[in-house]
């Protein structure tokens, strides 16, 4: 009998294996799957930039409208893709739980990290192309951008963990969560500047942590950007950390119900 592997070594081996498997699936599952990963945000951004610049305006709150849309859209996509990928992490890897080394949390983690990687590459490509088209896409406060983006990613992971447990326990939740995701695009200030919203409603919209995240990322890009009142990094991280811990607790408690059907 050879020596027993250290649990940490086993975990790392599993994470690496699932990460590579997920990357294969995400990039080469369909014909040119990698192309659509890039094309989806590019088409959204291209369409909106066209509508805004041709029909309406050139600046939003002192910022170049094209970069304003790019940044907001990419940050939103990071959150949404991470959240959706983590939500279905266990479902999509069902056959792999035959190997007892693989725990339900492992594919969730691998998917979250993979999504961060992919979005980093996609964001770099899109921002570089915009820079070549003579938009100023260099953030004036990169640290603020990074911490806001990390907060959004973390919240995406937390949301995905909680959502997948809720869906395993109450199957109807899948419909409710999908309905919730739809207006998120509109109320998070991806395409509509939140500054123009009048007061009693603005406070309601700012209960949404994603709106905070997007505005913070933009504030990090533009030096003289007029942000919404009451913007708070702490609020975003409070949601991120609470959802993450709640998700981890639920995973621990309901690990078996997630894997068993």
């Amino acid at each position: 009998m050879s020596e027993v592997r250290n649990p940490m070594v086993v975990s790392f081996a599993v994470w690496k294996a699932i990460f590579l498997r997920e990357a294969l699936d995400r990039l080469f599952d369909m014909r040119a799957a990698w192309f659509w990963l890039l094309a989806e945000p590019v088409l959204h951004i291209g369409f909106l930039v066209f509508i805004f610049t041709v029909l309406r305006m050139r600046t939003v709150g002192n910022a170049d409208v094209a970069v304003w849309i790019i940044v907001g859209m990419l940050a939103f996509f990071l959150f949404r893709r991470t959240a959706v990928q983590v939500t279905y992490a266990v479902d999509s890897n069902q056959p792999l739980f035959t190997y007892r080394q693989v725990k339900p949390f492992d594919p969730a983690l691998a998917r979250a990290v993979l999504e961060a990687f992919l979005m980093a590459i996609i964001s770099t490509i899109i921002l570089s192309v915009a820079a070549l088209l003579s938009h100023d896409t260099w953030p004036h406060d990169p640290l603020l951008v990074l911490s806001a983006v990390f907060g959004l990613w973390l919240f995406g992971v937390g949301y995905g963990l909680v959502a997948s447990v809720l869906m395993a326990l109450v199957p109807e939740m899948e419909h409710i969560l999908k309905i919730l995701m739809l207006p998120l695009y509109l109320i998070s200030g991806v395409i509509m500047p939140l500054v123009v919203i009048p007061q009693p409603y603005l406070d309601l919209l700012m209960l949404n942590p994603i709106a905070h995240g997007l505005e913070l990322v933009r504030a990090g890009f533009f030096p003289y950007y007029h942000t919404v009142q009451g913007l708070s990094m702490e609020y975003l991280y409070a949601w991120a950390i609470v959802s993450l811990f709640l998700g981890l607790m639920l995973y621990r408690r309901f690990a078996l119900q997630l894997v068993m059907k």
Binding site: A13, A17, L96, T98, R100, V259
Partner: protein, 220 residues
């Protein structure tokens, strides 16, 4: 050696908890014996294998695995959209064989006899090909005990002989726990038997006696 202590298992159904599948199973399975699980449909054979394999958990009781144990070869364990090679790579990595990946992959491709199909997605495989891949994958690692749920039985006769020969050749270093629907497969592979009946398990040193006891339970 695997020690199973007072294992109880029942599944949740749409109308509350189901009936007990396993009700107080106590067994000690030594490492170098090939043992067949015998019981009627729904007696809990696959359930017990899953619990031994650590991918399902008992409601009560515990399983101690004092050896290196394979995963339960059977349904599942293969990601349909990936090719045979990609699946094999995944399993090698999970089992900590990143360094000698090429050797193990060569062994798996050779033993499974899949040839060019090794590069095709698993969802294009027949059930026999799937079993051969699973079986070859598990033989690529040095386990002390292998768990097989219908896998060895699913291949064609030639492959079954090859598999049986592989197990005979390492009879002194590794054991096998298997479920199979055909008596002849069980006789071909196993010397000892475990009879599952009404949620309890009974050990027989000779598989023929286990069959005899099984016939008696049917008559009742």
């Amino acid at each position: 050696m695997i020690v199973i202590k007072d294992v109880h298992k029942r599944y949740r159904t749409d109308h509350g908890p189901g009936k007990w599948v396993l009700q107080g199973v106590n067994l000690t399975i030594p490492s170098n014996v090939n043992v067949g699980l015998i019981g009627s449909n729904g007696a809990g054979k696959s359930t017990l294998l899953r619990i031994i394999g650590g991918i399902d958990h008992p409601n009560k009781g515990q399983v101690e695995r004092r050896c290196r144990l394979s995963w339960p070869m059977g349904q599942g364990g293969l990601e349909p959209s990936l090719t045979g090679r990609q699946n094999a790579k995944f399993v090698c990595r999970v089992h900590g064989h990143q360094d000698d990946l090429t050797d193990r992959l060569a062994f798996i491709q050779d033993f499974s006899g899949l040839k060019a199909a090794f590069e095709e997605p698993v969802n294009t495989y027949s059930s026999g090909m799937r079993s051969r891949l699973q079986f070859a994958m598990s033989l690529a690692f040095d386990f002390d005990i292998y768990i097989s749920d219908e896998v060895t039985a699913a291949g064609d006769a030639a492959f079954r002989d090859k598999a049986a020969a592989a197990f005979k050749s390492m009879a002194n270093r590794a054991g096998l726990i298997m479920v199979a629907h055909s008596d002849s497969t069980l006789r071909q592979f196993c010397e000892a038997g475990i009879l599952l009946y009404q949620g309890k398990a009974q050990w027989f040193d000779d598989i023929e006696e286990a069959f005899k006891a099984y016939k008696d339970t049917i008559k009742k």
